[in-house]
Symmetry: C2
Subunit: 345 residues, 2 copies
């Protein structure tokens, strides 16, 4: 009577989410959008409430040997706010649930909440509730963020149109490279505890990994410039993966250009050290928490004038065709290797 069981790795995180979404039915008219975007959307008379949640588990999403607790608290909030901004919404509240094993003291908890408070202060968000429980092993943090946006300003993943410009904020790949650097130095330290970590010259990469900043500035600026993106998503699993989410949701294709993809000089330098092409972490590294969005071509001049925004390509009508063009003219298909907690680490 024993049935064959399917390993979660076989279908991956996205496969699992698809499976859950497929068996889910929406019943309430107030539920505007369920599973399948950066955040769920709930009707609140004329306005929209957006809700997102993320769970971070010690040993999977963070390593306390190089992640200070105050940064962990800050980052746990930041990654949730990033999803709210990706809906073109303004975050207003968070709840924080935390599972703590006996190795954590009250003072450790204080450090985590100092980081949470700091993020709340900077992004003007209220901590309104949560849960505090014991955990047999390590630390778990689950945060839910709630934001608001007016009905006509909300941006989904599915609105990209052919010829829309594809834009991305900041630079890509740095957080992933920062993580690789920290992991390398941890290994060196474990072999020789007297060795000092070699982080000089890569401070930016470390900061991108330990203290990401969600792009509130971009949401504010887009509003100022009266630009409503046709689609938007936050870059948490790598540019390729996120771009494919937008294209799949919008039933479109895309073409991006290798030399337009923003990469920080420190990312280039460390990629050289690791002997990888800098474009690889930019396309497939995780945890950048930048915004990827598409806008109508009519906004070209305005978008070009924006600081910290790069136009990297355009949307095409060829559904399912996702291409990257290199400077020598080579065209390669994008693939979504995306960071997957079930298969990596």
């Amino acid at each position: 009577m024993e049935h064959k069981l399917t390993d979660i790795k076989e279908i991956g995180e996205f496969g699992l989410i698809k499976r859950i979404a497929a068996s889910t039915k929406l019943r309430n008219i107030e539920t505007i959008k369920g599973i399948g975007d950066d955040a769920a959307v709930i009707q609140c008379n004329g306005d929209r409430i957006v809700i997102t949640t993320d769970m971070l588990i010690e040993g999977v999403h963070f390593d306390l040997t190089y992640m200070p607790l105050i940064h962990l608290g800050y980052k746990a909030v930041a990654v949730n706010l990033s999803d709210i901004f990706a809906m073109n919404a303004i975050p207003k509240q968070i709840t924080v649930s935390i599972g703590l094993s006996s190795k954590f003291s009250v003072e450790h908890v204080d450090e985590i909440y100092k980081g949470i408070s700091k993020a709340c202060e900077l992004y003007q968000v209220d901590l309104v509730g949560g849960d505090t429980v014991a955990s047999p092993n390590g630390l778990v943090i689950s945060i839910t963020a709630i934001g608001t946006v007016s009905d006509d300003q909300i941006t989904y993943r599915n609105g990209a149109k052919a010829n829309d410009l594809i834009c991305v904020t900041g630079d890509l790949g740095a957080a992933y490279l920062g993580l690789k650097l920290l992991a390398r130095e941890k290994e060196v330290f474990e072999i020789n505890p007297n060795e000092q970590p070699q982080l000089i010259g890569y401070e930016y990469l470390i900061e991108r990994q330990l203290k990401p900043e969600p792009r509130q500035d971009i949401v504010v600026k887009l509003k100022e410039l009266d630009i409503l993106p046709t689609s938007m998503i936050d870059v948490s699993d790598g540019l390729s993966s996120e771009l494919m989410h937008i294209c799949q949701s919008s039933a479109k294709g895309c073409r991006i250009y290798d030399d337009k993809i923003p990469i920080h000089p420190q990312s280039v330098a460390l990629s050289d050290e690791f002997m990888i092409e800098p474009i690889i972490p930019a396309l497939n590294g995780g945890e950048d928490y930048e915004l990827l969005f598409t806008v109508d071509q009519k906004h070209f001049e305005k978008v070009k004038s924006m600081e910290n925004v790069s136009i990297i390509g355009h949307i095409t009508n060829v559904e399912g065709q996702y291409e990257i063009v290199f400077q020598d003219g080579t065209v390669l298909p994008l693939s979504a290797q995306g960071w997957n907690a079930f298969t990596e680490e």
Copy 2:
């Protein structure tokens, strides 16, 4: 430079929550109520959105040797809805975040979500989002529930007035006794795997532990009868603890009567077997998920007519005095031993 660290057990879960609440500042006018009730309250034009969250961790909140995964999914939703009903609100959406170690297969996840779906169907709630991540050890489920209620119908913990009737739904102590029974039978089974578990006659207690039902019926009935409780809370940590929350929030005292406290015959029978007074699990057992509320005396006849509601005492003006009166006239102070995940199991 080493500082003395404080064990979380020294201040307990409530101490930790107080500490977090004390360092929290609310900034947004839309935030009506933060930490300190069954749910946070957010303004949504004339209506109110209420939000609550609970985290369940394997080995702390549940034991998979006797908790089937489908029931676990169901219960994880139920306990959150219970908090929404305690605000006199109607739940509308949930998000589910889940951390899974490698021992869980896709089919296991299906079972959990079957339970979640079942609860969503029965209570007409939409699953709108979540997160699915890997966990190094065991299973973690974190659920956030969202509900709505009109501004003039919301019930907090802090509205109890002197002479208000104290009412509780269903019966108390059964879920705790069900857990004790399951733990005993697990022990017997570990010693002798051929021994069949002795659960006959205690089916109600097992069901109360494995499949609690939040009191939607009571919220609906109160509305039908045009009764607005002056305060309400759900009974998750034991009657004593919850009653003291209401009294402390309302700056009042209380007097309840031993013989009025509803206890199921199976609870009495199993308490006898365990040689404990049935009033002990009723006062201090956890996970009943009943509603405890106070109403103005003018509603006495109406409340008396309600099925599944017991009037167990009244609120007094003596702030800080929480008393239970026994049939022989003895008066004892209530104490909130409440179920505490940091000190017990």
